[in-house]
């Protein structure tokens, strides 16, 4: 549980930095306290350390001039013939982005929720709550000779649209 809270809190990168020895002393001690309570985090730190060691230990690859000249054309040839399968996309996929950046993930979820609410409300657009008697007069147009009054008598629950006709018309 503590591990997931750490992941959500964006501590994954701090653990990696801790494993690489890149954290300042003050942060180191706070991470150590967190590690004491989180066995999964400890394993993660250990895995980071091992990976880092493995990378440091791996020998450098040296190519002869001929090999270097043939390398790129061979890669292109294999790609053109579909012999090499992409093990992962060139760009990180959405899940990876959201997982590595929990705040971005939360912001996206919030934006999506807002969008859904907005779209839903826009479907119900013309409605707002009607007043106490359940009647709202949105607009009134009368003949140019006439006039109109909208009122509600005290003690009555009725709303009235009263049209005054011009007596000459």
């Amino acid at each position: 549980m503590a591990h997931w809270l750490h992941r959500l809190g964006g501590r994954g990168r701090r653990l990696a930095a801790y494993a690489a020895g890149e954290l300042p002393p003050a942060e180191r001690s706070s991470v150590e306290i967190a590690l004491a309570a989180c066995p999964v985090c400890r394993r993660e730190v250990e895995a980071c350390r091992l990976a880092s060691l493995a990378l440091r230990k791996s020998s450098r690859v040296g190519l002869t001039a001929e090999e270097a000249a043939a390398f790129l054309p061979e890669v292109n040839r294999r790609i053109d013939h579909g012999q090499v399968r992409a093990t992962r996309p060139a760009r990180p996929d959405l899940r990876e982005i959201l997982w590595d950046h929990p705040r971005l993930g939360l912001a996206s979820a919030f934006a999506a929720a807002l969008m859904i609410v907005g779209l839903t409300l826009s479907q119900w657009g013309p409605f707002v709550t009607t007043p106490g008697n359940g009647v709202e007069v949105v607009s009134v147009d009368v003949d140019e000779d006439g006039s109109v009054m909208v009122f509600e008598a005290p003690g009555s629950t009725l709303k009235v649209i009263w049209v005054f006709e011009n007596s000459s018309s």
Partner: protein, 157 residues
């Protein structure tokens, strides 16, 4: 080349998925689509003359007496009908006048109605848009009739 194609394909899948999730509500029919509104118009003749209050007016009579100072209220007609969204329900009123009611938006319990009263000869007397809660009544009145006025009580269910 292949890896960028695969990545492009995956990106496209995500975009279609998001478009599906957020785009579908845009194409859904709005609330009230296909519903019909039950409408009732009570055509009342009000005047200061003998005759009292028509008992057929029921609860409306009390409210009319609180609202106006006429001594006589007579129910001339009480047509009922229904109209779907953006369909017009027409009622002939005394003296060749015409009442047209068009529901323009429907949500559970609330209706937007366009109410149009035409005088004789098709002259527009009043054109109004009202928002009614289910069971509420709005009065449209003032048009002269005989010795008094016509009052139209409109309600929707």
């Amino acid at each position: 080349m292949r890896s960028s194609r695969a990545s492009f394909g995956q990106g496209l899948r995500w975009r279609f998925l998001l478009l599906g999730i957020f785009g579908v509500p845009l194409f859904l029919p709005g609330p009230g689509w296909g519903q019909a509104v039950s409408l009732q118009a009570q055509v009342i003749y009000a005047a200061n003359q003998s005759g009292g209050v028509d008992s057929r007016l029921g609860n409306l009579a009390e409210n009319l007496q609180k609202t106006f100072r006429y001594s006589m209220y007579q129910l001339l007609d009480a047509p009922k009908g229904s109209a779907a969204l953006n369909q017009t329900w027409s009622v002939t009123l005394p003296d060749s006048r015409l009442l047209e009611i068009t529901p323009t938006a429907i949500q559970e319990g609330q209706y937007n109605l366009t109410v149009h009263v035409h005088g004789s000869g098709g002259k527009s007397l009043v054109n109004t848009v009202v928002r009614l809660r289910r069971g509420s009544t709005v009065l449209v009145g003032g048009s002269s009739y005989q010795q008094g006025v016509l009052i139209i009580a409109i309600s929707a269910n």
